[in-house]
Amino acid sequence: MVVPILKQGQYLIASIQAALTDADLLKMRDALVDQVGRFRSRGVIVDVTALDVMDSFAARTLSDIANMIRLRGAETVIVGIQPEVAFSMVQLGLKLESVATALDLEEGLAFLDQKTRRINRVSSPSTR
Protein backbone atom coordinates (compact mmCIF):
# COMPACT_ATOMS: atom_id res chain seq x y z
CA MET A 1 0.00 0.00 0.00
CA VAL A 2 1.51 3.29 -1.15
CA VAL A 3 1.02 6.25 1.16
CA PRO A 4 -0.34 9.21 -0.82
CA ILE A 5 1.66 12.38 -0.35
CA LEU A 6 -0.21 15.62 -1.00
CA LYS A 7 1.43 18.93 -1.62
CA GLN A 8 -0.37 21.67 0.22
CA GLY A 9 1.29 25.04 -0.25
CA GLN A 10 4.74 24.76 1.23
CA TYR A 11 3.94 21.61 3.15
CA LEU A 12 3.77 17.93 2.30
CA ILE A 13 1.08 15.80 3.87
CA ALA A 14 1.59 12.04 3.99
CA SER A 15 -1.72 10.50 4.85
CA ILE A 16 -1.51 6.89 5.95
CA GLN A 17 -4.72 5.14 4.89
CA ALA A 18 -4.31 1.59 6.15
CA ALA A 19 -1.96 -0.82 7.86
CA LEU A 20 1.54 -0.53 6.44
CA THR A 21 4.26 -3.10 6.04
CA ASP A 22 7.83 -2.23 6.99
CA ALA A 23 8.64 -1.85 3.30
CA ASP A 24 5.71 0.59 2.85
CA LEU A 25 7.00 2.68 5.74
CA LEU A 26 10.47 2.84 4.26
CA LYS A 27 9.04 3.82 0.86
CA MET A 28 7.10 6.63 2.50
CA ARG A 29 10.26 7.78 4.26
CA ASP A 30 12.25 7.85 1.03
CA ALA A 31 9.47 9.59 -0.90
CA LEU A 32 9.19 12.33 1.73
CA VAL A 33 12.92 12.92 1.95
CA ASP A 34 13.02 13.19 -1.85
CA GLN A 35 9.91 15.34 -2.32
CA VAL A 36 10.76 17.82 0.40
CA GLY A 37 13.64 18.84 -1.87
CA ARG A 38 11.77 18.60 -5.15
CA PHE A 39 8.95 20.85 -3.92
CA ARG A 40 11.16 22.95 -1.64
CA SER A 41 8.74 22.19 1.18
CA ARG A 42 9.11 23.85 4.56
CA GLY A 43 7.24 21.25 6.52
CA VAL A 44 5.98 17.69 6.51
CA ILE A 45 2.92 16.28 8.21
CA VAL A 46 2.58 12.54 8.65
CA ASP A 47 -1.02 11.70 9.47
CA VAL A 48 -1.23 8.39 11.33
CA THR A 49 -4.91 8.64 12.31
CA ALA A 50 -5.68 5.40 10.46
CA LEU A 51 -2.88 3.43 12.14
CA ASP A 52 -4.19 1.01 14.75
CA VAL A 53 -0.72 -0.19 15.73
CA MET A 54 2.54 1.66 16.22
CA ASP A 55 5.25 -0.85 16.94
CA SER A 56 8.96 -0.25 17.43
CA PHE A 57 9.71 -0.34 13.72
CA ALA A 58 7.03 2.21 12.84
CA ALA A 59 8.12 4.50 15.67
CA ARG A 60 11.74 4.23 14.66
CA THR A 61 10.89 4.99 11.03
CA LEU A 62 8.84 8.06 12.00
CA SER A 63 11.69 9.26 14.14
CA ASP A 64 14.14 8.67 11.26
CA ILE A 65 11.84 10.61 8.92
CA ALA A 66 11.75 13.58 11.29
CA ASN A 67 15.54 13.55 11.60
CA MET A 68 16.13 13.25 7.87
CA ILE A 69 13.63 15.97 7.05
CA ARG A 70 15.31 18.23 9.59
CA LEU A 71 18.63 17.59 7.90
CA ARG A 72 16.95 18.60 4.65
CA GLY A 73 15.98 21.89 6.25
CA ALA A 74 12.30 21.34 6.98
CA GLU A 75 10.11 20.49 9.96
CA THR A 76 8.08 17.35 10.57
CA VAL A 77 5.05 16.83 12.73
CA ILE A 78 3.26 13.53 13.35
CA VAL A 79 -0.49 13.94 13.77
CA GLY A 80 -3.38 11.71 14.75
CA ILE A 81 -1.88 9.17 17.14
CA GLN A 82 -5.00 7.52 18.54
CA PRO A 83 -5.50 7.18 22.31
CA GLU A 84 -5.20 3.39 22.33
CA VAL A 85 -2.11 3.58 20.13
CA ALA A 86 -0.54 6.12 22.50
CA PHE A 87 -1.38 3.78 25.38
CA SER A 88 0.32 0.76 23.84
CA MET A 89 3.32 2.84 22.69
CA VAL A 90 3.98 4.04 26.22
CA GLN A 91 3.60 0.52 27.59
CA LEU A 92 6.06 -0.75 25.02
CA GLY A 93 8.48 2.06 25.86
CA LEU A 94 8.16 4.09 22.66
CA LYS A 95 8.19 7.77 23.50
CA LEU A 96 8.96 9.31 20.11
CA GLU A 97 10.67 12.02 22.15
CA SER A 98 12.60 13.79 19.42
CA VAL A 99 9.57 14.10 17.16
CA ALA A 100 6.96 16.85 17.16
CA THR A 101 3.40 15.59 17.48
CA ALA A 102 0.02 17.27 17.24
CA LEU A 103 -3.54 16.16 17.87
CA ASP A 104 -4.78 16.30 14.30
CA LEU A 105 -4.16 17.76 10.86
CA GLU A 106 -5.44 21.18 11.87
CA GLU A 107 -3.13 21.38 14.87
CA GLY A 108 -0.29 20.03 12.76
CA LEU A 109 -0.72 22.79 10.19
CA ALA A 110 -0.86 25.39 12.97
CA PHE A 111 2.34 23.96 14.43
CA LEU A 112 4.16 24.15 11.09
CA ASP A 113 2.87 27.69 10.45
CA GLN A 114 4.31 28.75 13.77
CA LYS A 115 7.57 26.88 13.25
CA THR A 116 8.16 28.31 9.78
CA ARG A 117 6.77 31.81 10.36
CA ARG A 118 10.15 33.42 10.92
CA ILE A 119 11.51 32.00 7.69
CA ASN A 120 8.41 33.06 5.77
CA ARG A 121 8.75 36.62 6.96
CA VAL A 122 12.25 36.76 5.57
CA SER A 123 11.42 35.22 2.23
CA SER A 124 8.01 36.73 1.53
CA PRO A 125 7.56 40.38 2.51
CA SER A 126 4.20 41.33 3.96
CA THR A 127 1.61 42.38 1.41
CA ARG A 128 -0.50 44.21 3.95
Binding site: D22, D52, D55, S56, F57, S88, Q91, L92, G93, L94
Partner: protein, 138 residues
Protein backbone atom coordinates in the same frame (compact mmCIF):
# COMPACT_ATOMS: atom_id res chain seq x y z
CA UNK B 1 -20.39 -24.39 34.10
CA UNK B 2 -20.01 -26.58 31.05
CA UNK B 3 -16.51 -27.37 29.80
CA UNK B 4 -15.01 -24.87 27.43
CA UNK B 5 -15.43 -25.75 23.78
CA UNK B 6 -12.12 -26.48 22.11
CA UNK B 7 -10.89 -23.34 20.45
CA UNK B 8 -9.52 -23.53 17.00
CA UNK B 9 -5.99 -22.34 16.56
CA UNK B 10 -5.15 -19.81 13.94
CA UNK B 11 -1.71 -20.43 12.50
CA UNK B 12 -0.07 -17.60 10.62
CA UNK B 13 3.10 -18.49 8.73
CA UNK B 14 5.68 -15.72 9.08
CA UNK B 15 8.20 -15.15 6.32
CA UNK B 16 7.95 -11.53 5.25
CA UNK B 17 6.96 -8.13 6.54
CA UNK B 18 3.52 -8.61 4.98
CA UNK B 19 3.00 -11.58 7.32
CA UNK B 20 3.74 -9.33 10.30
CA UNK B 21 0.73 -7.19 9.36
CA UNK B 22 -1.38 -10.25 8.71
CA UNK B 23 -0.49 -11.83 12.09
CA UNK B 24 -1.35 -8.75 14.09
CA UNK B 25 -4.61 -8.24 12.19
CA UNK B 26 -5.67 -11.83 12.80
CA UNK B 27 -4.71 -11.54 16.47
CA UNK B 28 -6.72 -8.38 16.86
CA UNK B 29 -9.69 -9.95 15.12
CA UNK B 30 -9.58 -13.03 17.34
CA UNK B 31 -9.13 -11.04 20.57
CA UNK B 32 -11.98 -8.71 19.65
CA UNK B 33 -14.35 -11.71 19.81
CA UNK B 34 -13.71 -11.87 23.55
CA UNK B 35 -14.61 -8.23 24.01
CA UNK B 36 -11.20 -6.72 24.76
CA UNK B 37 -11.19 -2.91 24.84
CA UNK B 38 -9.67 -1.00 21.93
CA UNK B 39 -6.62 -0.20 24.08
CA UNK B 40 -6.11 -3.86 24.90
CA UNK B 41 -6.57 -4.79 21.25
CA UNK B 42 -3.88 -2.27 20.29
CA UNK B 43 -1.61 -3.79 22.94
CA UNK B 44 -2.19 -7.33 21.71
CA UNK B 45 -1.63 -6.30 18.09
CA UNK B 46 1.57 -4.46 19.04
CA UNK B 47 2.93 -7.45 20.94
CA UNK B 48 2.23 -9.76 17.99
CA UNK B 49 3.88 -7.28 15.66
CA UNK B 50 7.07 -7.20 17.73
CA UNK B 51 7.29 -10.99 18.01
CA UNK B 52 6.54 -11.56 14.33
CA UNK B 53 9.17 -8.99 13.37
CA UNK B 54 11.73 -10.76 15.57
CA UNK B 55 11.02 -13.93 13.60
CA UNK B 56 11.54 -12.20 10.25
CA UNK B 57 14.61 -10.36 11.46
CA UNK B 58 16.46 -13.13 13.25
CA UNK B 59 15.08 -16.42 11.94
CA UNK B 60 13.66 -15.38 8.54
CA UNK B 61 10.66 -17.65 8.96
CA UNK B 62 8.47 -19.21 11.58
CA UNK B 63 4.88 -19.02 12.69
CA UNK B 64 2.50 -17.26 15.02
CA UNK B 65 -0.22 -19.36 16.61
CA UNK B 66 -3.26 -17.61 18.03
CA UNK B 67 -6.02 -19.03 20.18
CA UNK B 68 -8.56 -18.12 22.81
CA UNK B 69 -8.13 -19.78 26.18
CA UNK B 70 -9.95 -20.20 29.48
CA UNK B 71 -8.58 -20.74 32.96
CA UNK B 72 -11.32 -21.09 35.52
CA UNK B 73 -13.46 -18.01 35.15
CA UNK B 74 -10.83 -16.16 33.19
CA UNK B 75 -10.76 -15.89 29.46
CA UNK B 76 -7.95 -14.61 27.35
CA UNK B 77 -5.85 -14.78 24.25
CA UNK B 78 -2.84 -17.06 23.92
CA UNK B 79 -0.15 -16.31 21.38
CA UNK B 80 2.85 -18.40 20.45
CA UNK B 81 5.60 -17.08 18.20
CA UNK B 82 7.89 -19.88 17.12
CA UNK B 83 10.88 -20.18 14.86
CA UNK B 84 13.69 -22.59 14.13
CA UNK B 85 16.24 -19.84 13.84
CA UNK B 86 19.62 -19.37 15.49
CA UNK B 87 18.16 -18.96 18.97
CA UNK B 88 19.00 -16.24 21.45
CA UNK B 89 22.49 -16.56 22.86
CA UNK B 90 21.81 -14.68 26.08
CA UNK B 91 18.15 -14.39 27.03
CA UNK B 92 18.96 -12.30 30.11
CA UNK B 93 20.61 -9.74 27.88
CA UNK B 94 17.85 -9.90 25.26
CA UNK B 95 15.31 -9.11 27.97
CA UNK B 96 17.10 -5.89 28.91
CA UNK B 97 15.64 -2.63 27.67
CA UNK B 98 17.76 -1.05 25.00
CA UNK B 99 19.69 -4.18 24.08
CA UNK B 100 19.67 -5.10 20.41
CA UNK B 101 21.93 -7.12 18.16
CA UNK B 102 20.24 -5.85 15.01
CA UNK B 103 20.39 -2.10 15.39
CA UNK B 104 16.74 -2.03 16.46
CA UNK B 105 15.40 -0.09 19.39
CA UNK B 106 15.97 -3.02 21.73
CA UNK B 107 12.49 -2.70 23.12
CA UNK B 108 11.06 -5.80 21.50
CA UNK B 109 11.13 -8.55 24.10
CA UNK B 110 11.11 -6.51 27.33
CA UNK B 111 8.45 -4.31 25.75
CA UNK B 112 6.30 -7.29 24.88
CA UNK B 113 6.65 -8.58 28.43
CA UNK B 114 5.40 -5.24 29.73
CA UNK B 115 2.44 -5.30 27.35
CA UNK B 116 1.19 -8.76 28.26
CA UNK B 117 -0.01 -10.51 31.44
CA UNK B 118 2.12 -13.59 30.94
CA UNK B 119 5.35 -14.03 29.06
CA UNK B 120 7.53 -17.07 28.58
CA UNK B 121 10.52 -17.57 26.35
CA UNK B 122 12.39 -20.73 25.48
CA UNK B 123 15.38 -20.52 23.21
CA UNK B 124 18.11 -22.93 22.26
CA UNK B 125 21.21 -22.21 20.25
CA UNK B 126 20.72 -23.28 16.64
CA UNK B 127 17.33 -24.79 17.44
CA UNK B 128 15.09 -21.79 17.61
CA UNK B 129 13.01 -19.65 19.87
CA UNK B 130 9.47 -19.95 21.18
CA UNK B 131 7.79 -17.05 22.90
CA UNK B 132 4.41 -17.63 24.55
CA UNK B 133 2.34 -14.68 25.70
CA UNK B 134 -1.11 -14.33 27.23
CA UNK B 135 -3.49 -11.51 27.87
CA UNK B 136 -6.47 -12.02 30.15
CA UNK B 137 -9.76 -10.27 29.79
CA UNK B 138 -10.44 -8.04 32.79
Amino acid sequence: MSPAPAQDEIRVPIGSDLDIVSARQKGRELASKLGFSSSELAIIATAISELARNIVRYARKGEVILKLIERGEKRGVHIVARDKGPGIRDIGLAMQDGYSTSGGLGLGLPGVRRLMDEFEIVSKNDEGTTVTIKKWLR
